[in-house]
Amino acid sequence: MPELPELNPVVHGKLRLALLSLLSTVDEAEFTWLRGQTGSTDGNLGAQLMKLEEAGYVAVEKKFVQRKPQTLYRMTTEGRAALTEYVQALKQLLGAAIQG
């Protein structure tokens, strides 16, 4: 029987997974847009985005637009690879669960 894959714990967190999935569909996204899409609080969202940033899955850019601060997040190549691997592992685990 083939060995079942481990799920990446950084990606597995519910909010982090939601964030990576959202960021995979766009070029870059503002903090407020991510908050609106996930319905999360500022504190939790900031903490989870920081974890993704520390893992190298998300890159952050801070700038001023019309004198207002804007924080933009985008998915890195490593982040995209991690999400792809996670989805493959998830499917493999689910397939094993259905067969088993």
Binding site: H12, S21, L22, V26, Q37, T38, G39, S40, L90, A96
Partner: protein, 196 residues
């Protein structure tokens, strides 16, 4: 693996699909532009009928362009997707084509036959809607393109009044009605959820 763990994994997979769908959908809120431009076409036609044909179209189209630009600039930042760029490209190209071809024909005095204006406008709008509909795999927009193309062909035959009526019917269905349907679909799709 027990049933609870399996359910949790299924939930994670569903969450990925839901978020990806939400990310793509969030950039799609263009219904109002169809309604705005449809109303602008009607105003231009009505104004032309009152005898100011020389100014009606350039002024109305410029005003509609300014309103569109201002509303888009004031809108909250929305992220770009490959799809939104493709859609933007189609409509910007249409706008540039119309804003260059028609004034040039008008100023040079070669836009004397209204049938030509209506057929060209219908063909251009049909092309843009057709391209967008094919990219989005959206039958309603492809149907809208077909209405524009048919209107363009029909407008070549019959009197000027008949051609104008055909043009107005196409504007009503392909701009006003289509725009309202888009806006309703967009409003329906904006349902929230929390993943905190």
């Amino acid at each position: 693996m027990d049933a609870m763990e399996t359910q949790e994994l299924k939930d994670r997979l569903a969450l990925i699909e839901q978020m990806m769908h939400a990310g793509r959908r969030s950039t799609e809120s263009w219904g109002w532009t169809f309604v705005l431009w449809g109303v602008a076409y009607f105003i231009a036609i009505g104004w032309s009928a009152l005898g100011a044909a020389m100014y009606a179209w350039p002024v109305t189209m410029t005003a509609a362009g300014i309103v569109t630009g201002v509303v888009l600039a004031r809108r909250k930042h929305k992220p770009n997707t490959t799809m939104s760029r493709a859609m933007g490209g189609i409509w910007i190209a249409l706008g540039v084509s119309m804003m260059t071809a028609f004034p040039a024909l008008g100023i040079s005095g070669r836009l004397l036959d209204p049938h030509i204006f209506i057929t060209m406008a219908c063909a251009m709008l049909g092309m843009a809607n057709g391209a967008a509909g094919i990219v989005l795999k959206w039958r309603l927009q492809i149907a809208s393109a077909c209405v524009w193309w048919v209107a363009g062909v029909v407008a070549c035959f019959g009197s000027e009044t008949q051609a104008l009526v055909v043009f107005m019917v196409a504007i009503f269905f392909c701009q006003i009605v289509f725009g309202i349907v888009c806006m309703m679909a967009e409003a329906k799709g904006k349902k929230g959820g929390s993943y905190a």
